[in-house]
Symmetry: C2
Subunit: 201 residues, 2 copies
Amino acid sequence: MADPANAYENSHKSDKRKAIIEAARGRFRHYGIGKTTMQDIADDAGIAVGTLYLYFKNKDDLVLGCAERFAQMHREAANRVLSSDLAADKKLRQYILDRYRAVEETRTGSKHTVEIARRVIKLRPQRFEEDDQWLYENVLSILQEGISQGLFAIREPERDTRIFVQAVLYFLPVAGMEPYRLPTEKSLLEVVEWFTDKWRV
Amino acid sequence: MADPANAYENSHKSDKRKAIIEAARGRFRHYGIGKTTMQDIADDAGIAVGTLYLYFKNKDDLVLGCAERFAQMHREAANRVLSSDLAADKKLRQYILDRYRAVEETRTGSKHTVEIARRVIKLRPQRFEEDDQWLYENVLSILQEGISQGLFAIREPERDTRIFVQAVLYFLPVAGMEPYRLPTEKSLLEVVEWFTDKWRV
């Protein structure tokens, strides 16, 4: 049986965790990771630094918390659009636009984004690959919906999803991460061939 | 009337200029701009440093010379492909592949590419825009050729060229230049709409 007091405590803990991550995010974005101390974050979150250490053992843990928050926002935004009543073409447009705006805001909202992104990639190299993978899965799911709605005629949805994702990745750059997502000759040729196939009489 | 002696001297000058640029390029790529001296470059080019100054007044001038050499190679490679007997689809494939390989080699062949690219953008901000503009013009010219050959059916060649160029720019990243080519929401939506138009039943 669920213990209501325990549930209350868990939700309270989760709220406090969120508040700490928000405080850390604000500090990292305004002053950078290097210049931020655990004390600064505790102060901004309105808790004692000893309490902060109960939740996160160091700044790296907090950087990962911020990265996880960003991933969580991607999942939530995607679920909102995917479960909406929009037709597949509108849904695709909305999903990509949301992604663009989220990436844009993260990338341009602070002069420390390069430092933050590099730290994330060091601590958790797979973080950005996951994002690309979700993008792929969500686009594929929208395309399949469009096909079953009779809105899209797509012979190879996996292939077209791959091409589409490649074509829009240019618009979703991660600050300072250029060497990370290395475009390959093979995928480039796939894009070129996709276009020429569509143009060919 | 052309003076043959003068023509010989000009061609000789042009050869020496090329040899100096090659020497500078080698030094910049192996040691970076900061650690290279005019004396190093003169030594590698097999000339006296006084002679070097007759051609280039400082290292920045040499950096621009290297950038111009890269632009010249783009023009030459483009002309070779565009004037070839290939059908338009094959021509497009070859042109884009050449571009990819040239950018890839420039970007990955040295650990100083970020320093070099940043210096070029500081000295001549329009340099990379020109490259994108040529890419656009060359693709458009290939598409139009494909249309007149009856190979491609394209209603709005300018629009499709714009989309195609956006879709392949991801594959042509310039080291350390991420803030330079800023993708816009408007062009992203144009790409998305282009795809959904092609998929729509």
